[in-house]
């Protein structure tokens, strides 16, 4: 199976996985491959390597997809269109406020609020939230396929839980009621509210409570819009034409992580299509067992390879075989955790993959 078959017929492809597994380059390679097949594709990258960003012409800001000139991708014939962008979380957050605020003045007030500023610029949570927000926004446009790279979290599950936490905060009608003195919500909440509010002040400090109150007062009726959006996003993520693709490397921990993430996707009933495992050490082609790699080494019949060098070459090959064996065992472990979904393997290229050559190398393997 190749990557085109993996995500065929899907409108949204979300690449998830732990940090350092080549998610960004893989996302871009998927987008290139599908654009080459004639689709109009947009890829949203998060914090791409500078060289990759430059190669795709992403250096300009704008927070909107831009058409990638076909000549930036040597050797690829783009029958469709490739659009690419680099996510700007703060900007996406601000745009969202502009969109849902009842007036520009209110939007401005919110953007000046201390709690909002903290919320929208916090490293953890805001990338995840805004990535999903951007996806939602672009899903309304006329792309055939959206490919979303996801933020580098310490665990992949964070990508699914963080946006919900932020939405719960923004859309927390109950919280508003709690913070509004003598509001009807207070009475409705009954026993809990008064001591909770008192304790909240005790624990967090009065100033924080008043800042939050100010923030939620500004949000006013907008919380309903946040909740409605969250519900539509949830629909989008669970839709039958959405595909979650797990990206991993073949080492122990990333594979553990991938297995955990697979379980989360299954629990949340999200559409999972398969995995792409990068940097797989390939086994040496099996020499006849009675001969082994050693016997086939050109020690005697190739002039210029002294025995001492041959010994080092053998040690290197033996070490490599251990890694290939490890990778194979890990991929089998991953396969056992899957319900038959395919696993595409990308070999280790013994070089950095964070540039256009790396992207094209991964693309060649995925779409062969």
């Amino acid at each position: 199976m190749n990557a085109a078959e993996l995500i065929e017929g899907r409108r949204i492809c979300i690449c998830v996985g732990g940090g350092g597994v080549g998610k960004t380059t893989t996302s871009a390679a998927l987008a290139v491959g599908m654009a080459a097949r004639g689709l109009k594709v947009a890829v949203v990258t998060i914090d791409p390597a500078r060289r990759l960003a430059n190669a795709l012409g992403l250096e300009e800001l704008g927070n909107e997809p831009r058409l990638v000139a076909p000549d930036r991708l040597p050797g690829i014939e783009l029958r469709g269109e490739l659009w690419a962008m680099m996510l700007d979380p703060k900007r996406t957050f601000d745009d969202l406020i502009d969109r849902v605020a009842p007036s520009p003045e209110r939007a401005e007030e919110i953007k000046q609020n201390g709690v909002y500023r903290q919320l929208s610029s916090a490293v953890s949570g805001s990338q995840e939230f805004t990535a999903i927000e951007k996806l939602y926004e672009l899903a309304e446009a006329d792309y055939d396929l959206l490919v979303l790279d996801t933020p580098p979290a310490h665990n992949a599950v964070e990508f699914l839980s963080a946006p919900g936490r932020l939405t719960a905060f923004l859309g927390g009608g109950a919280l508003q009621a709690l913070l509004r003195p003598s509001g009807i919500g207070m009475r409705l909440l009954g026993l809990g509210a008064a001591p909770v509010l008192a304790a909240l002040k005790l624990v967090t400090g009065v100033d924080l409570v008043s800042d939050l109150t100010a923030f939620f007062t500004l949000l006013g009726g907008m919380t309903e819009e946040f909740n409605a959006r969250a519900a539509r996003v949830e629909q989008l993520l669970g839709a039958t034409d959405t595909a979650f693709v797990l990206v991993s490397s073949a080492q122990d921990r990333p594979i553990d992580e991938a297995i955990r993430f697979r379980e989360t996707l299954r629990r949340d009933e999200l559409p999972f299509v398969g995995a792409i495992v990068n940097r797989v050490n390939q086994p040496l082609p099996a020499a006849a067992p009675e001969r082994g790699a050693e016997a086939s080494l050109p020690q005697d019949d190739v002039p210029g390879l002294p025995p001492e060098l041959a010994t080092r070459v053998l040690a290197c090959a033996a070490d490599h075989a251990v890694l290939a064996q490890r990778d194979r065992a890990n991929i089998e472990r991953l396969r056992a955790a899957f319900a038959g979904e395919p696993i595409l393997q990308v070999p280790d290229f013994s070089a950095d993959v964070h540039d256009i050559e790396g992207l094209l190398a991964i693309h060649r393997v995925l779409f062969r």
């Binding site: 732990g18 916090a122 310490h154 809990g192 040496l284 090959a317």
Partner: protein, 289 residues
Amino acid sequence: MIFVTGKGGVGKTTVALALGLAGAHAGRRTIVADLGGIGDQAEVQVAPGLFRISVDPQSAMEEYLSVKVPGPAAAALRGSRLFQSFAMATPGMRELLCMGKLWELAQFERRTPDADAYDLVIVDAPASGHGAALLRTPRTFAEIARVGPIAHQARTIADTIADPVFTAVVAVSTAEEMPVNETLELRDALATATDPLELERVILNGRYPDRFGAADAELLSAAREASPQPAAVPVLDVALAEHHRAALQQLQERRLRAEFGERLQVLPYLFTPSVELPQLELLATELAR
């Protein structure tokens, strides 16, 4: 307290454990704390003098409430889903709770009942950007909340983190371009923070051996061209690929060396099926040098 951070996938957890083992061997009661919340949330002994704990905001919150809030209010809060979801969603609160727990682990007077003090707390921290943000959280929170017990607590934690006698940050990198870039960015981010910190050490993890020199590589290429035995070709390719990778790594190691000099420490790539205690022992020995 040592915070171990670096780009995703560089082996932070392995290095944190190896540092922990080195600490335990030096006779210091050591705990390695991760923030995944996936492992055991109690302090568990894993080797003589070495403990592990997985810190998560939820249990940190419950522990904090039971210690800090008097009487029935604590129970009301613990039982209140409203409060829980509110607290967890408040920007920075989760990070602050985790930092609070880590800080508590490093106190000689533990607030956890019957808990002994540690000489060394090693934090298997999130990746660079998130790691630096985590370190900033107490100060940020103290400024937002201004007054009240949390502000007070946050300020105390922030002051300890800012104290280089108490806190060190160690960056882990591999000898590849992106992780090295991130290490340099981390150094700059820490240096320009409100409470500037310096990278105590940079650990280059997974350095490939320089098994073949340039002359060797020429011989290998020649042999590959001339080889009449197809089975020998992939073996030679593996050797040439390793040579190529080692050469690239050398460039990146030089970049780090130029910036960090003696503060750079190199750990070898381990060609083993997995990293277990014997491999960690090996790395701990390297680190203790």
